[in-house]
Amino acid sequence: MAAMFSQNPLMNGPNYSFNDAPTVNAPEGARQHRFDPYTDNGGSTLAIAGADFTVMAGDTRLTSGYSINSRHHPKLFKIGGTTADQKDATLVLSVVGFAADGEALKERLDVICKMYRFRHGKPMSAKACAQRLSTILYQKRFFPYYAYAILGGLDEEGKGAVYSYDPVGSYEREQCRAGGAAASLIMPFLDNQVNFKNQYIPGSGEGHALQERERRPLAREEVEILVKDAFDGAVERHIEVGDGLQMMVITKDGIEEVFLPLKRD
């Protein structure tokens, strides 16, 4: 707008009390060196929902630039258990992006889920927790948590539920989602292998007559192999991913956690 009206000869006349040009308070020649509150700590996460389970996974490398800060830094957290060791938790949160914000986000959501549980005498449902997480993220809309979150659990019917988020709280329930540094490498693989995208029944026709391969829920063993393959692929092509694979499987009987090795180069 400033540029538009500065062309106007009228502007050389009286000025008005609103000012549409940005004012600079800094003294002449002063260089403003601003502190950057964000960094990217790399890493990748992944979640797949099954018929009666959800598998969550993430690598355990923590980077800053080309340095590996830690080879064992978990990105998956059990949420809303009644004790410090979270052994009766029913939900899992994965965070990737800026590690300090991820940690802060996890701690806030955990406290809220714990309070809910103590007040109501039952764990928070996946759906309720998912909405609450969105609200937490949006509350910091103008100084966001720089973290890509995925929330995993079981829905009211006992089916696997995966909710994925952007840093400011947009969310949706999905069958599967990859997040973080290697999301663009893993997600197409998942589209093909979980949702059977671009898979057609051979000889079923030409062009539009081609029939899509029918979707079916994957078995837990298949999903676990898929997750390992996805990360082995990502490790090969992305320098910020590697060291270890943390995997959590959420079923009606609780949460199982395993650590598998990944390439450390």
Binding site: F5, L10, G13, P14, N15, Y16, S17, F18, N19, T23, N25, H33, R34, F35, P37, Y38, T39, N41, L62, S64, S67, N69, S70, R71, H72, H73, F98, A99, A100, E103, A104, F143
Partner: protein
Amino acid sequence: MDHRPQAWGRPRDDVYGAYDASYLNHSAPKTATQSPIVTGTSVIAIKFKDGVVMAADNLASYGSLARFTDVKRLRTFLSASVVGFGGDVSDMQFLDRHLNELAIDEAYEHETTASVSGPAPGQLNAANLHKYLSKLMYRRRNDFDPLWNQILVAGVDGAQQPFLASVDLRGTTFTSPSLATGFGAMLAQPIMRRYAATEEDAAKLTRDQAVDIVKECMKVLFYRDARSLDRYSIAVVTREGVELKEDEQLEKQSWAFAERIRGYGTQTV
């Protein structure tokens, strides 16, 4: 007729004078460190069987000037933990005063029996202290008023196991069998990882081995880090407490390698 609807109904400057918007332009929020001035270089630390060894040299640089050559960058906390500071020295001194206050409060709340060294039960252990510092640092980064340090915290955790963790100016925290800040992350960390790649490897190291590794790393850092010094502090922290030596001299230096490297020292040809 003014054709800009924004201007309609507003007081004109030629009639009322320019609007005094000074009360709207409150100056930038009060912040301390916007960039580090006097700085300390690397801090390095490695876990061993029953504790942690940490070291940092005694130099505080002003840019490339070796300004203060007797600055102690390791401090103990409640005779139970060691904190090592890299980065801005004035922020380190602020944190040092803050931790002194905290230690006094802790000592009043949980009285120790004088005969026992090390932490009293119920007092803040290294894991607690690290959590405290990480919350402090993260809060300051949220206020856009960061404490420009990378900090290593060493000691034993609640389960009496060796504990080593890091926190930086943005509140990022992580742990590892060995840790190094600044230049040490490039030069010392690969050496330390050769001996303690995993927690299991670290649990096999003896105290003497760990001390030797750290001393070797300090030597490599002095060879290659231009903002380093050959006088350093080294601390060994175990369940029994802290042994801190603050005026050590690098031993067995050999500069023979320098002759073979073009551009390293005085060039004759």
